[in-house]
Symmetry: C2
Subunit: 343 residues, 2 copies
């Protein structure tokens, strides 16, 4: 790990007989040079074994090409998948990502944002829920959120309403006697509320027997077990003999209910149809594959970065035009038909 002397603009200028200004133009505005001169300098860089110092370039150009990300955790597969896809956009847009895990702590997340701003990030992608979008909109850089409250900022969300509507319609076509939606208490302000709203609207518009069961299910397999166990007891008696079409708010919850049924009956009884949400790995790896309304995490991530890049480019103009109002992009969900709706 011997420290090598860095090659400077001076060295490159001497080697090529160009001025330092020309060398600087090569890095900051290469098209202002002829192709021939670009080639001469690029050959020289190779010969001199030039290691680019982007930190120095940042200071010269003001462009860090850094984007900050605040994500609640990587434990939930939705978040790790989105992050995977966001990081992969480097190949398309060239932005590098500084990632912070917020752990649902508002004060921590505000501190992380200050730290990110000190590193001159050009834009920020937020997946965590703690800081109101009104506050986020006051930050001095472009912001895009994904699947969270987004009234005052640009966002990319799944079309949750379409998801809930399609789930209800599918269960109805499978000749269920009662349609049931199981969810955890959800604020009307977050996109996921659309799942519940649409399910309710579909059943009302089509005059279908239905029930919406809101219980504190939590986010994990463990927290959802006791309430879903109670719900199963209730359904087994109150809806005996009826064909039950159940739409759950997530694949994690659908898997809990499926496992409770398998453990009780050794199979999925024919009067139970289950649909989850997310197309997370557990929906494929469960004991029976779970039908699910899939979020297109690749598109959510790509559109979020793309929307952010548009605004970051706007900021680089001499007179950036502010947005009239936030842009909200919506990505349709995709239904995956699997074993839990086959009977």
């Amino acid at each position: 790990m011997a420290k090598k002397k860095n090659v400077t603009f001076d060295d490159i200028a001497k080697y090529t007989n160009f001025s330092k200004t020309t060398i600087s133009r090569y890095f900051n505005n290469p098209d202002s040079l002829t192709l021939e001169n670009q080639r001469i300098i690029s050959d020289a860089l190779e010969k001199l074994n030039y290691k680019e110092n982007k930190v120095a370039r940042i200071l010269a150009s003001g462009k860090t090409e850094f984007v900050g990300i605040i994500i609640p955790d990587l434990y939930h597969h939705f978040y790790s998948e989105i992050l995977d896809h966001i990081l992969s956009t480097y190949e398309t847009f060239g932005y590098k990502f500084l990632v912070f895990i917020g752990n649902e702590n508002e004060e921590t997340e505000r501190r992380y944002i200050r730290e990110l701003l000190a590193y001159k990030i050009e834009g920020l992608i937020i997946l965590s829920h703690t800081i109101p979008s009104e506050d986020l909109s006051k930050l001095p850089i472009p912001i895009v959120t994904i699947e969270r409250e987004d009234e005052y900022v640009c966002s990319v969300n799944t079309d949750n309403y379409m998801g809930g509507y399609l789930a209800a319609s599918l269960l109805s076509r499978r000749k269920c006697d009662i349609l049931i939606h199981i969810n955890t208490p959800t604020s009307e302000k977050i996109p996921a509320y659309g799942r519940l709203q649409a399910f309710h609207d579909y059943c009302r518009d089509h005059d279908l027997k239905h029930e919406i069961m809101i219980r504190e299910l939590g986010n994990t397999y463990e927290t959802a077990q006791p309430p879903l166990s109670d719900i199963l007891e209730h359904l087994d008696t109150a809806c005996r003999g009826m064909r039950k079409g159940i739409f759950l708010s997530s694949d994690t919850h659908a898997n809990v209910l499926l496992n409770l049924l398998m453990r009780k009956y050794g199979r999925l009884p024919e009067d139970y149809l289950l649909i989850g949400f997310d197309n997370s790995p557990i929906s494929r790896e469960a004991v029976l594959s779970i039908s699910t309304m899939g979020q297109q995490t690749d598109q959510l991530a790509f559109e979020a970065v793309s929307l952010l890049v548009d605004q970051m480019n706007e900021q680089k103009k001499r007179q950036p035009a502010p947005l009239d109002k936030p842009i909200h992009k919506v990505i349709p969900p995709v239904f995956f038909r699997r074993e839990t709706t086959e009977k």
Copy 2:
């Protein structure tokens, strides 16, 4: 998003009546000032609404406080969990992380490393397998790897050998007639090979009837299904009536076998005992909870960053002392006893 004028060292110097040199010392070596003067400057920063420009500081100090991470993907929970824990060490060590997803492509990963070096990262954590450690050892910054080939670089790994040994010993104590290890072809150079080696050693040392079945299982639930289905057919006939203690190379594979058994028998037959590896979420969310040899991802991540920080600090000394040889830290696995070994 109006562009505000930044507060400069000049402004702070004028406001406090200190010289610019004193202000600079406040940022780069605060302890060289009296506490009283530190307080005066810190009050001034607050009054002037000073926004720190860390990029400028980097150029002055040469310390970016950036660490690069190359990770194969975030689809596998082991990786997303490790990354979650690495990012959380910011609270302890203050380093910020620039993260790249390698997707098992060596050329891509070499390009990412060049890009990271251009941003003057101070250290690098590698979880991907593509670049030989001998090449990594030649990079001009400290490197730490996690759970991969590590002959020439510092590393933190799970004690895979202990994991395999404990799994065999546990199955033996549960009075199994035959001990079976199922794994995918594994290079002797990677830490995970210890699982297989130890299982074999334990059975040989204790003169136990055993079989080691190496099949191309792949990394996913889907790829593992056909070969494990074949293995189940084989065991159901060749080992009929025997109590089979099966140690699988990952929880994903254990879950595939468990689901095949559940679908065939409606329950886990009493002559099948299963142990997985990783303590990944699927081991808790499977139809029966899967006994598993858990990797302590929090400790793996913390020790990796800690080892890297030691070396990055060494590099900041006027005469850094090179390491005689790479340091390899080993974290013991933890056994989670669950339903698949209860019968």
